[in-house]
Amino acid sequence: MAAVHDHDIAHAHDHHPTGLMRWLTSTNHKDIGTMYLWFSFIMFLTGGVMALTIRAELFQPGIQIVNPEFFNQLTTLHGLVMIFGAIMPAFVGFANWQVPMMIGAPDMAFARMNNWSFWLLPPAALLLLGSFFAPGGAPAGGWTIYPPLSVQMGMGMDMTIFAIHIMGASSIMGSINIITTILNMRAPGMTLMKMPMFVWTWLITAYLLVLVMPVLAGAVTMLLTDRNFGTNFFNAAGGGDPVMFQHIFWFFGHPEVYIMILPAFGIVSEIIPTFARKPLFGYSSMVYATASIAILSCIVWAHHMFTAGMPVTGQLFFMYATMLIAVPTGVKVFNWTATMWRGSMTFETPMLFAIGFIFLFTLGGFSGVVCAIVPIDIQVQDTYYVIAHFHYVLVSGALFAIFGGAYYWLPKWTGHMYDETLGKWHFWLSMFFFNLTFFVQHFLGLAGMPRRIPDYALQFADFNMISSIGAFGFGLSQLLFLYVVLKCIRGGAKATAQTWEGAKTLEWTLPSPPPYHSFETPPVIR
């Protein structure tokens, strides 16, 4: 009952303000979740416009639309915006909406901090995008902001560094909130091993975030002092070492990859059992595999740096470790497949996205194992093969899971069913155009086309044209998603509390849409 008491204090005056002030001051996990999701969608479109400009430039060989400096700024900002602005906040948005409802808690543990961690994001985004207008433009050295380039660039780089600091602080606060909520606010009877998979994956992701986000903050702080205060962490001339930045950066960067995919695993692990009408196969294995992936992700970072100069012992160590991380990942894919085995499956849009996720993420995983092999990696380093690889895991992995999760929970959030026909159209268009865009990039990479270059040799022309057409198709398909979501918010068939026949987790016991304050009295867990 302590939880109820605590909650009543937090919302002593319950006549919450309306209009803009409602959103600015909201400490309600549902409001904040909504804001996170809209923020990430806006950033997704922003980063998407950058991607389309890149693809438009690459439609034909030669320089047509943007100059090379601006092209480099676009590739850099596209990466930063999509990672820190779109994918990560989207998952935090899902966590805000779903974690309290799935564990039977009335709200997040620290409601005010929750408000703060969201409202840090828009200023950070403005700072990041504002760097385009700084003298010298936005950073142009790639999203990994390697020195010496990042030490030499103009003011835009400082703005980006501050933006990363703010977004890092926001992520850390969000993670602390999620960990505390999951550890302390579960309804009585909800033991750790009864938690839904999505909650488990977020618990582990949040731990990873507090583990590595501060390291990134340290790395960019060193960059900042190198740039402005005469320190020499990464300055070869002053006794520093630019390669050291790569080590510190990827010590953050590789776990970051899993931060962006583990919640996706969680969402897919909710969708598949619902539409296969069977419990998740090997729940405990899934929990253990997630933990295993998280631990292993911290010891494979240098596979991003095989060509940076490393003793062969180091190369072999990181190669073996990287290849072994495929084992727990494979266990997960096996479990999803086994969940579907002999299930009574139906193929609503969330299920389509989940199956698309499994299919394409596995493909991306396999090209990852290919890249893990040192001699091949030396060949494909910084080519479009790598681009294809990580878009297969981040777009058809993380992003498809986000779409799947959005369709899955939209009826719960809005109280209306979305338009199933349009949802299916959105899936099939995304699926087709995604593969059109990125599958051919494997061939481009193997043929030697380097990334982050605005121009290319004539023999790459055909595949680039195909890829650009695919990119525009994919980008435009996302407007359909926007339309479906808006239509669903404005009305549609009433969604029942359970919505999906096979849905078993706690949020489906609440009415759709759930009341503003849910589970003020903790539910009873069987």
Partner: protein, 68 residues
């Protein structure tokens, strides 16, 4: 190392090692998991996990030393 007389929180060393090993592989039987969940404390699992990770790193280094 065995305190079988007191059942609740303490798991045996062997049990921790087994749980950590299977966790690294990513597969665990439901019955074993239930016994893990009832008899292992989080601290035991975390320390076991860190030792497991260290052992994993060392074994990889040994393999690398052998092949180079």
């Amino acid at each position: 190392m065995k305190d079988d007389n007191k059942q609740p929180p303490k798991g045996t060393l062997l049990q921790i090692a087994k749980a950590v090993f299977w966790a690294f592989f990513g597969v665990r039987k439901q019955s074993d998991l239930d016994s893990d969940a009832s008899s292992l404390t989080p601290a035991q699992v975390i320390i076991g996990g860190l030792i497991g990770a260290a052992l994993f790193v060392m074994s990889l280094i040994i393999v690398v030393k052998i092949v180079t």
